[in-house]
Symmetry: D3
Subunit: 243 residues, 6 copies
């Protein structure tokens, strides 16, 4: 079976990671997974939220949002509606947790990094692109902080890389990195976040249609692990270039 864009079942869409996209942020990346484009900026500030003061440990958090016309049909702005929707909340929390999995907060010191992930164009996989791009923005921000001696410790605050990819079962076939048209047809949809060592940080699988069997789950996890490994390579390649 061939996919709509000619990919094989275990193939990622073209991935680009463009560093230094913004002149203001300490780290900034325009990441694309096919037609999905997310602007990730990392903002470093001295100090931590009140509940963490005096701990000697830093904090990393994230906010995700979509521009109103990132999608095929214009959505209302959450600022105009006056509240954050459930999906936005959920994804912001997922991105934050995923990044924190590779941060040594003691090495970061009492500094905070906020990752803003704004979807400029959506075509499936916005949360996984956001995590993958945000890691690179975070790495640049941490390097900036160490260069400026704002982050003073001897140890590298990042203990590994983190990347994410979606997988799903479409017409009975497990597929990697679903585009939007595949996503809407998927009976099961899973987002997987891995470290570069191949361990899992998050596994979120949902039966959109029929519940899924253990064997299907296993096949999806295999696909996802492979996809994350290739995304980790892409992150390393991006970080190897001079920004």
């Amino acid at each position: 079976m061939s996919r709509i864009d000619g990919r094989t079942a275990d193939q990622l869409r073209p991935v680009t990671i463009e560093r230094g996209w913004s002149k203001h942020a300490e780290g900034s990346v325009l990441v694309s997974f096919g037609d999905t484009r997310v602007l990730c900026t990392a903002s470093v500030t001295e100090g931590v939220p009140r509940w963490r003061r005096g701990s000697g440990e830093g904090w990393v958090t994230a906010e995700y949002a979509m521009l109103p016309r990132a999608t095929n049909t214009r959505g209302d702005r959450e600022s105009v509606r006056g509240k954050i929707g459930g999906r936005t909340h959920e994804i912001s929390r997922l991105i934050g947790r995923s990044l924190r999995a590779v941060v040594d907060f003691r090495a970061l010191g009492e500094n905070t990094v906020v990752l803003d992930c704004d979807v400029l164009q959506a075509d499936g996989g916005t949360r996984t692109a956001a995590i993958t791009g945000a890691y690179v923005a975070l790495a640049d921000a941490v390097a900036w902080g160490r260069g400026r001696k704002l982050i003073k410790g001897r140890n590298e605050p990042l203990t590994g890389q983190v990347a994410a990819v979606s997988v799903g079962i479409v017409d009975g076939t497990p597929l990697l990195d679903l585009a939007y048209t595949e996503d809407v047809r998927a009976g099961t949809d899973m987002n997987v976040v891995c470290t570069d060592s191949g361990a899992f940080v998050e596994v979120q699988g949902t039966a959109e249609g029929a519940p899924f069997q253990r064997a299907e789950l296993d096949a999806l996890l295999d696909l996802a692990a492979g996809g994350c490994a290739r995304l980790a390579e892409a992150q390393r390649a991006a970080l190897a270039e001079s920004a």
Copy 2:
């Protein structure tokens, strides 16, 4: 290794499912998983949300909340703060999706069932208790609707049962149905929703501490599937009693 309350690693806490708890709701259940107590009410109304009108299909949705002093420390009311928190949103959405996995919306007809899951006392596993109890309240509400000929179709609107349980790795050991004191020490925490046929509806695993390996993930899924099967039995036993 023995657990704080003497359970074995693959043992559930005592489960009670008390039907007919409220005189007003079409279905109502007070469910307890150990000291976790959740009041689940099912409210049936004719008609569906605007976006579904004229489709001939019904709708099922859920709202989860905690009483302010359900927990050890009093939390602010979300009504007073004026907004729903991210965690509340996330769990409400999870409960709704889980229940919808076993609903035949055409058989339900253009009727809506709202499941309210209010945590009266929390001791870990509130979302899994809520799903498990809400299914029973939903079953009672559907039976009520069929009895009243509000739900007119010939087919049973519920295509199966759905139950949920938490699993986690504590001090290197995979454990079933974590109590709060276990939950806070868990390196990995997973919520699993299954049908009574043993298929998966939702798998949500999070590395709170170190990322987890595939073998650990497999062990947790085995534990959860076993736990869900026993919860489905408890649901059937409760529904077998006269309400």
Copy 3:
């Protein structure tokens, strides 16, 4: 004239006051007036709101809410609507004022007690049941605080008991403790809060239909005073048991 549930005009519905309902709260009571059931929890914290700091005096406040399906028809959650309704505000303020009438704030010291009164099932008289139950939860919380030496003073912080009951004129007859079906037919509706010494803390009477005459008002006040005295007895009986 006999009432719907066979009571005489000056008879209370069956009252139960179940202490120690929650394992977390410093005081907790499940109170029922007939089918009206309210969970009252008392949360003690050191310190007082900003405007009272340094005064040497404590503070007592209350929040009232209804579960969405406590009533015959499901109501929207105030947390979802994003604002507290006028009725909720009004009742929360009434409960707080009523309890404060029997508190010696100097004896309480700079501690705060928050009473949460959540209506699990409503059948008329939710605010009066809430006040009556909240007093017992407050008494348990104060005893807890004195036992823990959090409340250090020599004097008992509670200067008396407080209880409340509704009265109303239905088809020309003054009745005590209206059930919901009576309440909707009442021409005049009054909530009365008394101390155990028979003095008034609050009198709130409203003509729902025809305005009421002074003689009717007098009859209602007599009924209410008698009802409150019996509720104060029930409170003493509950507090006499070991929790």
Copy 4:
């Protein structure tokens, strides 16, 4: 004992009722009780809220607010804070209920009158001045509607007059129509709404300090009834003038 402004215990402050204050509203009154000044406008619109459509009956509602610097210390605007406070809600509801007590909704037809009561200057008794002035604005608005044949029925929609006054116990003495400096010293504070026939529409008494005895309550009710009768006279006098 003489009062701060030389009044006797049963004397009202000077009352003025200035009709036709606004050129836009169908009824408008600037009412003053001493230094308390409230602008009451009545807005008539065809139609009723959704829940009342097709009933053949009208509706009357009220909104109360204070200008930020109506008081001695500037208060935050509720529009800026983004929510209505409990006190504002409570008073708006009281005014609406009080006026509805003298409205024949069938005679009003499916029309709505909204009474806006905005406190321009506060010196105690703002809610009672608002009710007293709003009645006159309502009367003008109803006359306007009948003149325009918007209100078509044969029967007069107003079945009587309604007026309100505060009473309280200050240093042991029951006093009528408390000014702000008296109000803050009052042990018991009561607002009473009466019809011109001397019947009660609302009685709201609160022990700010010590609970009050039945004899005190009786004395306050006597004072209030006398005060309301004189306010009803002032309303009639104002309405007798050509607007």
Copy 5:
């Protein structure tokens, strides 16, 4: 061409500036431009907002609002809707900026003056009447502060006067100080804020219909400058009276 109220093109409506309207505020003015009536109160408090603390400089800010029935059709209260509209925000900011143009913040010392401008009746030009009246209220408040030695500096904190007027092109003719019926017909609408020395503080011109030519803009600026000069006179006359 004669205007609806008989004015010439360059004539202001009757202007009244009534000082000392409120007994509570440090400065208060009821200003009218024809039928437009705005109550402006100035509230002085010691201290400045957080971002200005320790600067030695004061702050002046403004809030504008309309009573619901200030206009021909009743508008919803912004407090009830739970948010400030764009127009309200815009005008509040304009008033604040305009007044700050004539304040020497160092001479004011670390004190804050809040100007509340509440429109009691609207008939065009509410924002310009508000600025013109607020200046006088500010002047009274500053004088009060200097008299009380709250404002301690030697220098006068007000460096000049500020007044505002609207101008517009109606049926091809430039007109000064538009009444509401003129405003809705104006093709171009401009609000101009000037100091008493004739310099410009704000110029806000909008083409409601056809874009305007440079010559038209020049004619409007000439009219506005003349109008502001006469308003500055009226301010001086009002301030010359004893309050």
Copy 6:
């Protein structure tokens, strides 16, 4: 005097207008004025807001927002704060009014175009870049609608072009198109919106420091008119390319 980036006083920053930036929107432009980058998307929908239905006329509106890290210091998200700030409101309204000045609503038919202007990077002049770019996105969206026969009329709905530029007085010198570092030093700041025929749509001038004289105002208007003419050329050049 030479400017920070070497420009002459009457020189624009480099302007780029990149059409077709988004695959979803009916019109989309990434516009840059130097380092200021704004993504403008135009969304066409059939139908108009309720208040305009049945009029035969269309509607055009705009929403402006900044990404949190578009600026040098990260700003809070308005969606998280739960309300739109005054500045955002003001600019959204300005953009909408400016575009509507060149729309023939009858020719547009009952269709709505929403312009979303999201600032990806800010360096002064974000509102003027937004207007200039949004016009081009609107032109593309209108052409799309005419091509699809959604816009059915014979007449072109756009009656002209609209562009905007900022001008200001820095150290006594009138300058065109201020960059951020110039803007913060400007004594007077003005935004001017013109049509391609050189007429004015909006003139908004503000004295940030000293009030400005008529001669200065005239000089600024001259500069702005010249700048707008060159921006209109850039718009035409962009629209001449195939998208």
